[in-house]
Symmetry: C3
Subunit: 285 residues, 3 copies
């Protein structure tokens, strides 16, 4: 965890913008699963407070308490929504403790959730985001539980924001949000670039910390991408380009901009025994 | 199963209220899962009959045919929705048989579903609820199947209710809805209070039949809460209050008002091998 | 795979109809699962392009790359939606390759997705459907990835269609869509009718290729339905008609019109060890 330094002049400019636009859309991202009453109760509270809200689920299947996965998914999905959208992100193992509750106004989007790093990627893309600590109890449910702030605090605050309230009515500004230290690629002694797998998607594609730029930086030489004993030397444009060569792993530039390890019509994660955190290595020869 | 005695004068007063307000919201709670066409077909029928409907999923992941779980979840989620909301609850192992189809008007909410106990908790909180047996085929789809009343009967009736029809157009009043006999806590010979686990949530927290009042009733003595050989003597306010003592179970007042057995950032159900129905015991010393 | 012959005069008549009506509803059916950012990003794009869209999930839990399951589910759910609904179906293992992207206008519904057989059942019910190849990049996102056309092509096209654009602005007509060859029942040498299991639902009911007509065609004789060593001689109207005879399999006419193998309050698939593709046989005696 580390602090992000913010830039006050930028904040002011952005703040005046975000105070104007509203789409009425509220997205929801949690680790609550879909089998309990939790998500339903949150939606009920939002609709009680703002009957015109348009509710869109991003996902409720973030692995329990997995803040990095939530930060990745929130960033990848939120950028496709209209200006003035409120993104509610409740992965909150510290609920009830002294951890702060935040509103992040970045560009023309709002993000609402606990101060535990879930906004790390959004904030790393916008050093001038305006951040507010949610302290004004006038916007909470009358009875705030110790265990479900998603329902009692975050949902009514998101509803009020989506209805048009400016962020500064909810509490004081904040300049030191919690931020995850994302593992970055680094150069090893042998000249290879070391990274890791940050996400595995529904199809078993393994999203790495590398981008196309890392491959291009190697110049004209052939690359060799290593993950747990598997060496990959092929970069394809799309999954089915593998053609009859089905079964062999290849790299692909995924839809979130990162290099993925994939196998056509199969799960690379299962076939190659890869997991989130598995180290990967890029060599040139 | 047992009958609930209702109170006719109250019914009339409530009925005149519920006939007025409508939010346009229809919530859906089923045990249909999300991998089939069932939920999609129900939503299509509702939108055919009431294009302005606002559809909100509570959950479709109730364990198949598990009426107690459905009753618990319906009650916990529905109370957070705006007045005039219609709650569609289709857990219906008896579909096609002679079981009745009901509308329950409780306070300013409507509940629609089969007469099999799914409304037990709602009705136990409101002895004056107005109950209607759905018999008027004018509101059904033209062809009613024997196996999917969720689509053919309950969805078009919910749409008509949400559009503003009063409950009494759908059929005659009912005073003997099916009700589950919920296991209640009882005093054992040794002076301990016996209860059970009624639900396990997505995080593995085990919701019991006990409330904070049961603890308080024990006076100033220390309590000991026993579940399958585990003794719990600690009541925390929030999950992370456990601090460095991660791994040990504690009690917490859950967001639905019941005492839960929890382990910080872990699954108490898996770690302590607890399941729905596991007996729990409260002693004082 | 085979081509479907279309009927040009019919096309014109239908086209003029589908160009008029719009419900504003866009349904989504994918094999993306619900744990990634994929579905959220698609919904964001749609709402960017058409803020009044009403989004309804059919399912995102089609087994990965399973086009027959998607075709079955799309057909069974879509027919219950209002006229002028746009159905977005993205099961797309060939994304990025030369496979075409299609709009199918059938009756008063629109279907948008890849040309890989996902519209087979819809097209088999409407030989006069109007089919368009999506080629007009003016409707795509500015940057089209090689791996996520659901977000970059299909979602913005669906939004434009739902907003009222006529199909012919998106590209040229098509008369040879890819179609799945569905396994049909056939008469065996011994006089029995051979078919198979095409789907297993959330409750373990096994949907077969047979309909009630196949049973009736056998005349007054008793039927015997065989699946993997189990012989079924009973046709019930609803699941609970089994009464105290719980545990024994029976046939039932399912809600999509096909004969299903079922066991009351249990999973026939698990108890009888049946799977998609398992052959079934109908004999009379």
């Amino acid at each position: 965890m580390a602090e992000i330094e913010s830039n006050l002049p930028n904040l002011v400019a952005i703040a005046s913008n975000v105070n104007r636009v509203r789409s009425g859309i509220i997205t929801l991202l949690t680790d609550f699963g879909t089998e309990d009453y939790f998500v339903g109760a949150m939606k009920g509270v939002i609709l009680q407070r703002f009957s015109q809200a348009v509710l869109v689920d991003i996902t409720h299947d973030i692995p329990p308490h997995n803040i990095p996965a939530a930060a990745f998914t929130l960033d990848a999905a939120s950028r496709y929504f209209p200006p003035g959208t409120v993104h509610l992100a409740v992965i909150d193992p510290g609920v009830g403790s002294e951890r702060r509750a935040l509103i992040v106004a970045s560009g023309d989007h709002f993000f609402v959730g606990p101060d535990n790093g879930v906004f790390s990627l959004v904030l790393s893309r916008d050093r001038g985001a305006l951040i507010t600590s949610i302290t004004n109890r006038a916007y909470f449910l009358p009875d705030v539980s110790f265990t479900f702030h998603g329902r009692d605090i975050f949902s009514p605050v998101a509803a009020a924001l989506a209805r048009g309230e400016p962020p500064d009515v909810f509490g004081p500004g904040v300049r030191d949000p919690v931020a995850l230290e994302w593992s970055r690629n680094h150069l090893a002694i042998d000249g290879s670039l070391q990274g890791s797998i940050i996400h595995i998607d529904h199809f078993g594609n393994c999203i790495t910390t590398f981008t196309l730029k890392d491959l291009r930086d190697g110049g004209d030489g052939e690359f060799c991408f290593r993950a747990k004993g598997t060496a990959i030397r092929k970069l394809l444009k799309y999954y089915d380009e593998a053609g009859p060569d089905v079964g062999n792993p290849f790299l692909i530039v995924g839809s979130a901009g990162f290099l993925e390890i994939a196998i056509a019509r199969s799960s690379a994660a299962r076939k190659l025994n890869l997991a989130v955190g598995t180290p990967v290595r890029l060599e040139f020869c």
